[in-house]
Symmetry: C2
Subunit: 363 residues, 2 copies
């Protein structure tokens, strides 16, 4: 992807260092800051621009609003050989989520199956980076999170009740990169509205509605109203399924660990820490298949999908994870495109933190 003319290409390592410097200046312990920065820059490398360094201004806003604890004492509060409950102590979600998926992987390696959940957490960035850790160890990963702000309007409703409640799933292949699905359960992620706004484009009919439930195509109004459709868009095209998936993610992410469910938050509008929740499931295919058989069968499926007859001869059929792999290769080589306004915002954040500003365009 060519960066926007107003973007600079910055090496991943510099972004990681900048995020660490800011988080440390905000009071976060070194290991937490390092892991948080790693997860954020992994999102940037994968092309998920909305969930990497672009979130630093959002986290600054949370900080100033008293919604996040940068001195969090993350701990396991309940545990069995196949389950674990983490308390995030109000901190950002990346660090407890990394501990949680890694503990699920560890337990899965022993028992074949494990589920770790996190309560009292906050925004955890891109869901895909957590399940990818499971796939890299040879396990299937499934995860999700609820969010701090409602935006999905249930079918037949006129107010938002769920965040975009993303679901991510990864499975290991052998010849192919892992299958990695990372999707908001809304028709479109909030980041896509922001992207349309930035490019001065309207959004497709079916992504958002106004207070009367009529389709809304102006991204600025859509972001302001935050009335977005569940996957499916309309009742006729299956929005009750997207709504059901958003509710499923809410139940597993928030109600299971005992975090605050977004619909309840909508009614109560509590101040202070957000109390967001996440879940992380790991499955060992080795409990069911001979060594290598799962990966070989997944490779065979991926190959058939790639070879499927195309609707447009010039557009290959993709498998979940393909676009991110292409981005990782390009961005590792060329650096990560950072729009100038974001760069300016980060410079201001660094000055206020205060900490060193280390972002410079690649050679």
């Amino acid at each position: 992807m060519t960066p926007e003319p107003s973007s600079l290409r910055i090496p991943a390592e510099a972004l990681r260092r900048q995020i660490m410097l800011v988080l440390a200046a905000w009071g976060m312990a070194e290991d937490q800051a390092r892991i948080t920065a790693e997860r954020m820059v992994e999102a940037d490398l994968r092309g998920v621009d909305s969930h990497g360094i672009a979130n630093l201004p959002l986290y600054d806003e949370f900080r100033r609003g008293g919604h996040v604890n940068f001195r969090a004492n993350v701990r396991v509060v309940r545990e069995t050989p196949v389950t674990a409950l983490f308390d995030g102590d109000g901190g950002l979600g990346h660090y407890p989520s990394t501990l949680a998926i890694d503990l699920a992987i560890e337990k899965c390696a022993q028992a074949g199956l494990a589920l770790a959940v996190v309560r009292n957490s906050n925004h955890y960035g891109a869901a895909g980076v957590y399940v990818l850790r499971a796939a890299e160890k040879g396990f299937i990963g499934l995860c999700g999170t609820n969010t701090y702000k409602a935006s999905i309007v249930p079918t037949f409703a006129a107010e938002p009740m769920f965040g975009t409640n993303p679901l991510a799933f990864a499975a290991p292949a052998k010849r192919n990169p892992p299958f990695v699905l990372d999707m908001a359960t809304s028709t479109a992620a909030i980041g896509k509205f922001k992207l349309a706004l930035m490019h001065g484009k309207s959004v497709p009919e079916g992504w958002a509605v106004d207070e009367q439930g009529r389709p809304l195509t102006d991204p600025a109004r859509a972001i302001a109203l935050r009335l977005i459709t569940p996957l499916g868009g309309t009742r006729e095209l299956g929005s009750h399924k997207g709504y059901g998936l958003a509710a499923m993610v809410e139940i597993l992410s928030a109600i299971l660990p005992g975090a605050l469910a977004t619909p309840v938050r909508v009614r109560a509008s509590p101040a202070g820490l957000f109390d967001i929740g996440h879940f992380f499931l790991a499955i060992d295919p080795g409990c069911f298949r001979e060594k290598g058989a799962f990966e070989a069968d997944l490779d065979a499926m991926i190959d058939v999908l790639h070879a499927a007859r195309r609707a447009d001869p010039g557009q290959p059929v993709l498998v979940a994870g393909d676009p991110e792999i292409a981005e990782i290769e390009a961005r590792t080589r060329q650096g990560i495109p950072v729009p100038r306004p974001l760069l300016d915002a980060i410079r201001a954040i660094a000055e206020a933190a205060p900490c060193e500003f280390v972002l410079q365009a690649r050679g």
Copy 2:
């Protein structure tokens, strides 16, 4: 729901008995026939007309085509304290699926978490009835299946690669009935096309496409071509998410147990037994929450959703499982509506089996 004028209301017990008589005449052991009939009639009671007794003619077709083994020796082939792999021996899926979810529930009661998968199986009816068994025991249930026939066209492709790969999820509440999501990962289930055809209606644009990828609204052609869209409908409205979900269900249902993945089947077109797979996950909220806390929080969420501001004052906001609860009450009282053509088909099946024909309209 008022039955179509051409439908008769038949008590659930008569349908159960009729299905058992037919399956037994086809060679199925008594316990397997009883359990299969129970699952099928549960679907009918829940209003899922496409997955109850209406499937008997389909199973007869499978039988005549040599695609199902009515003398299946279902067994556990691999097992750990939290996992189990069943071999369905080519029989219908309802019986091994019931054993699998019940074993997952049993292991979950011991360990807090369990996953049972089935290979070498066949059509298992309605996904919702299996996860409901978990919710009735106080556990969260998640399940899915792949299918014998491809119909979902991946984003950017021009041929079908996945079945409608349904996903079902249930969670126990206390004051409210369980949350039960049961959804095809296509925009619409095949049954909805058949319903439109039966009523002489066209289907909405976005449900199916023709060989050139153009929207198709004629249900007869859509059923014949079987090129249906993943949830989302078009790339612009998120079909890549529905496609990703269908692939996720395929990986968990077919590749994990070692059944035949549908895309591979599309290429190979093997004759004989279908080798379909299913997965069943059970989670004990008691590993994470104090007794009753999960159910109370889910009740609170469901209550807020029911009380959400309505887009149309006359149309309440529903929660997954609500429509089925209403059907169960009505159909238990009034009987299950069976269209006359289906009744005639079952009479013919009973005569050919041969077995007694016991279906009579209610009083």
